[in-house]
């Protein structure tokens, strides 16, 4: 895929805009048909489906199937298994995969470099410091929501 994109700056534009935060791609991908993972139905991950709905993928001759996969370990496992060439997800899970010795993926771009999540607490909690030592519920372990 990288070779073909290098010949077509417009394709580079489309792919890079659409895949961010934990963006990774398989070093072995070599076609225009791509299975692309996204891991949350939120605005920060809206770029791929905006591109699909507006026909940008087709315009640049990319046959992209967008696949929702649970964030964290399931998404990491999906791309490491070779079932996907691109993933848009938090960087934490992918970085842990690197640490474990998986080097077939690489970050090529990002969408945001901060956590845009909110912490919701009871009214008596006035500052994050008050949460120290307390239990915090998260939507899912292994993603970027810890």
């Amino acid at each position: 895929m990288r070779i073909r994109l290098a010949k077509n700056p417009i394709c580079i534009l489309a792919i890079s805009v659409l895949y961010g935060t934990g963006l990774a791609h398989s070093a072995t991908a070599a076609t225009d048909k791509l299975n692309a993972i996204y891991t949350a139905r939120v605005m920060s991950q809206a770029m791929p489906w905006i591109a699909q709905e507006t026909g940008l993928f087709k315009k640049y001759e990319l046959d992209v199937q967008l696949i929702y996969v649970l964030a964290g370990a399931p998404a990491v496992a999906t791309i490491l298994a070779g079932d996907s060439e691109l993933t848009q997800q938090g960087a934490a899970g992918l970085t842990r995969a690197f640490v474990q010795g998986n080097r077939d993926i690489v970050f090529i771009g990002g969408i945001k470099n901060i956590l845009a999540h909110s912490v919701l607490a009871k009214p008596e909690i006035k500052s994050p410091e008050q949460l120290r030592g307390k239990k915090i519920g998260v939507t899912r372990n292994g993603g970027d929501r810890l």
Binding site: I15, G22, S44, A46, V99, V106
Partner: protein, 70 residues
């Protein structure tokens, strides 16, 4: 509605758009992993070759990124 959300996101978080993941963030994840995984000790984003900047570099040279963030 999607357009409103997109514009809001870009205005609030646009600085991180089309950048590589923050190095300090990656270092933090590696350090957290090192607490339970000895393989993570002494690792850095560079040693792990986490980042591949060539595609973004090409986009920056083309001026596209500046155009998106305006």
């Amino acid at each position: 509605m999607a357009g409103i959300g997109y514009d809001y996101f870009l205005a609030k978080y646009g600085e991180g758009v089309l950048n590589l993941p923050d190095r300090k963030g990656l270092e933090f994840v590696i350090s957290q992993s090192a607490k339970s995984n000895p393989k993570a000790k002494g690792q850095t984003p560079e040693l792990l070759k986490l980042l591949e900047p060539s595609i973004l570099d090409e986009l920056k040279k083309s001026g596209f990124i500046d155009k998106v963030k305006k």
